[in-house]
């Protein structure tokens, strides 16, 4: 188990009810982490609709998750 820092935005923030939390997890990748959080919080967005950022940069879903990582799941964007 390690702890990672997760920030939520937009629909994910509303569905979670908070903007950030620390998660103790055994997930080894962002993909595993999102599956875990989705099951726990009932997020309606599927992973395929999201991108993920780790440490403030877009990252592959298969990136090994380090302890202390800052993770953001990015819902479909809609600027403009």
């Amino acid at each position: 188990m390690k702890t990672v820092h997760v920030q939520y935005f937009a629909l994910l923030r509303e569905q979670r009810g908070i903007a950030r939390e620390d998660i103790a997890t055994a997930a080894e990748t962002p993909a595993e982490l999102y599956a875990e959080l989705r099951a726990r919080h009932g997020f309606t967005l599927e992973a395929g609709q999201l991108r993920v950022a780790v440490g403030g940069e877009f990252a592959p879903w298969t990136l090994p998750l380090a302890a202390g990582a800052d993770v953001v799941f990015i819902p479909p964007v809609a600027g403009g």
């Binding site: 920030q7 935005f9 937009a10 629909l11 923030r13 509303e14 990748t29 962002p30 993909a31 999102y34 599956a35 309606t44 967005l45 599927e46 992973a47 395929g48 609709q49 999201l50 991108r51 950022a53 403030g56 940069e57 877009f58 592959p60 879903w61 298969t62 953001v72 990015i74 819902p75 479909p76 964007v77 809609a78 600027g79 403009g80």
Partner: protein, 149 residues
Amino acid sequence: MNFRISATPLDLDALKRSLSDVHAGACVTFEGWVRNHNEGKPVLTLEYESYAVLAEREGERILAEARERFPVTAAVCIHRIGHLALGDLAVWAGVSAAHRGAAFDACRYLIDETKARVPIWKKEYYADGATQWINCATRGEFAGAVPPA
């Protein structure tokens, strides 16, 4: 920084001045305004939210791409966040260039890529009391989204 997320109204005169250059013969600007309808539904107000640190990084990459692809003199893009009313300015993109073709093409590139790639989200508030985070009800809105393995 030439790509910024702003929580306050934009100073268009200052933005325009930042594009000035005696080598530039053309200046094209794009403004995105909050309009009163979207896909047939009456919109009352909007809320924009952003993951600003990544938005500004991705935005700077878009500006660098535009400068690489088109012979431009200057390029700037600013996106508002927060609550906006009808008619408010949501996004401003401006490009100056020696010639108009590059200015039009680069400005279009900026706004197209910003809409497709920059982590900014829009929630619409409708006349009937409903709200919606745009693009979240459908899949596949993401240019470059890679499903998890």
